[in-house]
Symmetry: C2
Subunit: 330 residues, 2 copies
């Protein structure tokens, strides 16, 4: 089947899949990396239509089977948890320093039963002699996208990617040199859902946005004053401030959120200053609403990020495809 | 009904109830505070036979109805969550500084339908102008017992009570002057049960006790090296050390336990040194096995507790009863 390219518009050249734990996003791209079409499905690797390889095949056919039928056997690249040990096929971690070329060099191939090959990017392992190992998988692709669009950051930057497991990643000379995971989002979720702190917290968000912001900022300030090990004491304030009616119940979540995000920032910035120049630009990548909370927290502790980006994964997957040489014009 | 006192053995003079969230313990005491008989039931205030006041009456009759039938209308004292807003009757918090006389002064009375009065001790609120409020309820009674038996500690001591919510309490001139809650035990439980960290952890304890101890000590050491806000990053090591096979799965819990207990100790000792002389004796009160973990962690960071006590609540309830003047010989 031949693809009919509308006049003046380049044809489909690549399918890029951002395949995480809880979601799967597909992008149909042209040879310049512009997105022609996109889809999202809930078929993250923990939520496949059926378990095992069959589940990956079905989710894959669901997200881009019609694109393949329409455009022929396009090259396909994928990044994220799809390459983990629980993924479609394991793409073992590469070490630091790592750049997009490293990812391309160590990518692995899955032959789909749709008759196309899927090139899966590896994650990255940071394994220093003097600290515990750490891992990222998916964020290296987002970073590749960010650096492609903002080459001035490639020389030296600190990239914070807020989320369930936030990542703080240092970039030097275009390569990922070190990083750290913070379980901020998950800690917040389990404390609200499963600990005594949740008992005083209503489901609904705060009625008064200004009050919620004030509580969030108070949480950040508490984190800023913290000594090592204080966190398991500090979080108890999300109970006592409610018990003593110093804070209304509907802003206790905001207070806890400020405290946890504030702690992450205090630690992340301190480690950055330890290992890279203090004037290194800070880049935020992630969901817009969550990044706005981080910007508010940074403001409270007197720091301003150099840039804030959302969904850089498609751009990063395109960079990965280019480096891997799977685009027909390469 | 008259109580027949065996020759040479003093008669029953008091019933003391240590009534917490998940358990109820009853002690039949003589006029010197020696325990003549004791019981435990699972009828903590969150686990009553039926909800509401009727549940408290039933649990009360169950734990000591026969003692009352046998010994007549003895004075009865109670401490712990039974005096909270969710308890049998609320005994509002008293402020700091507080000693056993303060507790006795602000105790409240419940008239049970068994025809006896139950004197319930209040909790204590620490509400400094420069920090968040904090509360204890039950620990003030344990401390009263500890200080009665170890009067040399009453002048100046730091008391750590490990548990679901650990408490660090400062004593000066026989009074509780300040304290802090650490959610260490609960944090450990929710991380093992409800977070991604639990996925690599088997249910069963470690097969090799020496390996488990080594992992615990490694966790404490990591905590000791921590900077402010590091905790939400540090806990992720309980995953990466498993993923990279640096630690066997069955000691990951010990590692996390060491990290969380270590963090509590680092913070608790630092705040103690901030507000009270560094040579202040440290007293541990609590479950023997848990206290032994704390002693091991303290040893790792170069500190030795002055004493370690278990179940000082009966002794403390007796002190409370004496101060309240409910013992017939007072």
């Amino acid at each position: 089947m031949e693809t009919l390219t509308p006049p003046g518009r380049p044809g489909a050249a690549l399918i890029a899949l951002d395949w995480g734990t809880s979601s799967l996003r597909g992008y149909l791209m042209d040879a310049k990396g512009d997105v022609l079409d996109q889809r999202a499905s809930a078929h993250g690797i923990q939520n496949l239509p059926v378990p095992g390889p069959e589940g990956f095949e079905q989710a894959f056919a669901g997200i881009c089977g019609d694109w393949l039928a329409l455009h022929g056997k396009l090259p396909i690249v994928a990044g994220g948890m799809v390459g983990s040990a629980q993924g479609w096929a394991e793409a073992p971690y590469v070490g630091c320093p790592a750049d997009t070329a490293t990812l391309a060099d160590k990518a692995i191939v899955v032959d789909s039963r749709l008759g196309v090959r899927v090139l899966i990017a590896p994650g990255v392992l940071f394994d220093p002699p003097d600290a515990n190992p750490d891992v990222i998988r998916g964020e290296e692709i987002q970073i590749a996208g960010a650096l492609a669009d903002h080459p001035w950051l490639a020389e030296r930057a600190c990239v914070a990617l807020p989320g369930t497991h936030s990542k703080w990643v240092q970039i030097q000379d275009g390569r990922i040199t070190r990083f750290a995971t913070y379980m901020t989002g998950e800690l917040f979720a389990v404390l609200c859902r499963n600990s005594i702190l949740g008992r005083l917290m209503p489901e609904a968000p705060a009625a008064d946005a200004a009050e919620a912001d004030q509580a969030f900022v108070a949480g950040v300030r508490l984190a800023r004053e913290g000594l090592p090990g204080d966190l398991s004491h500090q979080i108890f304030a999300a109970r006592t401030l409610g018990l003593t009616k110093r804070l209304p119940p509907d802003v206790l979540k905001d207070y806890l959120s400020g405290l946890l995000i504030g702690g992450e920032l205090v630690s992340g910035l301190a480690h950055m200053r330890d290992s890279i120049a203090a004037d290194t630009p800070l880049l935020l990548i992630g969901d817009g609403a969550l990044c706005r909370r981080y910007v508010r927290a940074l403001e409270t502790i007197g720091t301003v990020p150099a840039a804030q980006l959302e969904n850089t994964a498609p751009r990063g997957l395109f960079q990965f495809a280019q480096k891997a040489g799977v685009l027909s014009h390469d």
